[in-house]
Symmetry: C2
Subunit: 182 residues, 2 copies
DNA sequence: GAACATACGGAGCACTGCTCCGCTTGTCAA
DNA sequence: TTGACAAGCGGAGCAGTGCTCCGTATGTTC
């Protein structure tokens, strides 16, 4: 028996309402509230998304895919600029929903997560940019993609909490707070 | 009428149990649980600390005071090292309780907070270190104390979530990810 | 030892995440 | 068209949360 039409309709409805609610109140929004706003029962919401993470994942996957695509777009630009631009996109994009940076780091670590795959693909694309910058000596050799992503996520988090622009914090970290003695 | 002995006893008991519980499960630990572990009723806990923030504040104030003192200790060291050491202390100290970096940034912003005073004092002491580093051209002129603190808090947060050492992330930010073209 | 302000404890309210299950409803074969 | 039935729906219900309120107990003072 094929997928029922009402099920698909509800699925999409919940996703779109959740996107709105998350953007408005962060990823900790009450799921009951989302169900209410979508006009479905709480049971229906849980049928489609057994955990809150599952719902976040549905919204996060496309974000990861977009960031991967973005990294590939930037491949033909000068390494330093490409890396800086990409990290800015990562950080500012993470500020869409309050609580999202946490999900990003969680998805990277949790290998059983549905998201892990697309998250790893994104990281790999970013790693490419990082490697190119390192080849040209623009970034220290020992720096790993994980470190760079953690840095970006942390600054996205801090920007949200402090009211300081994420771009500013990222610029400080990229240029180095303390200029090199020369 | 003087303060009752049982009240003072309970107050101190709750604080010490809370410190333990926060260190173990983060600042979002159930307050009912803390009351239970302290052997007092939930009402008693709320009588002493009307909000969760009040309880966090009681634990945070001494931390701020210590960081202020630490900044003053470091005053006679070379500016760059002094700033780096102090920020390391800020960041690693923030990792004591999960959720603490958030409280730090919140206390800085919320001027009505009980904590605001000691938090501002700490910031001022840190600002001194920053200013000295800037005078010697070791840090770019436009960088503000708020930005530096937000950076440290964000990296403390990211370190906790990513499993990467806070010191490592801070070192990346201080040295600059992208070495200067010269 | 009496009087009384002060502090205590927990029942209770409105909320949360999540489960479970009786009742609909969409779908497809007859 | 109609019947059968899997699939999906909705919400009552459970255990937990933060927080309030108030009758009861207790430390303190005269």
């Amino acid at each position: 028996m094929a997928e029922r039409a009402d099920a698909r309709r509800n699925h999409d409805l919940i996703v779109s309402v959740a996107a709105e609610a998350f953007a408005e109140h962060g990823v900790d929004t009450s799921l009951r509230d989302i169900a209410r706003r979508a006009g479905v029962g709480i049971g229906t919401l849980y049928r489609h998304f057994p955990t809150r993470e599952a719902l976040v994942e549905a919204l996060l996957r496309q974000r990861f895919d977009r960031l991967r695509a973005r990294a590939e777009e930037l491949a033909d630009q000068p390494p330093a600029e490409a890396l800086a631009r990409w990290l800015t996109d990562v950080a500012t994009g993470s500020a869409t929903y309050r609580g999202l940076p946490e999900s990003v780091l969680a998805a990277l670590r949790d290998e059983t997560s549905e998201l892990h795959g697309s998250c790893v693909a994104m990281r790999a694309a970013g790693a490419e940019l990082l490697a190119r910058a390192q080849e040209e000596g623009l970034v220290a050799a020992g720096v790993t993609p994980e470190e760079v992503l953690a840095l970006a996520a942390g600054l996205a988090w801090a920007g949200d909490r402090s009211g300081i622009a994420v771009e500013r914090l990222l610029a400080l970290a990229l240029d180095g707070l303390t200029p090199r003695r020369r």
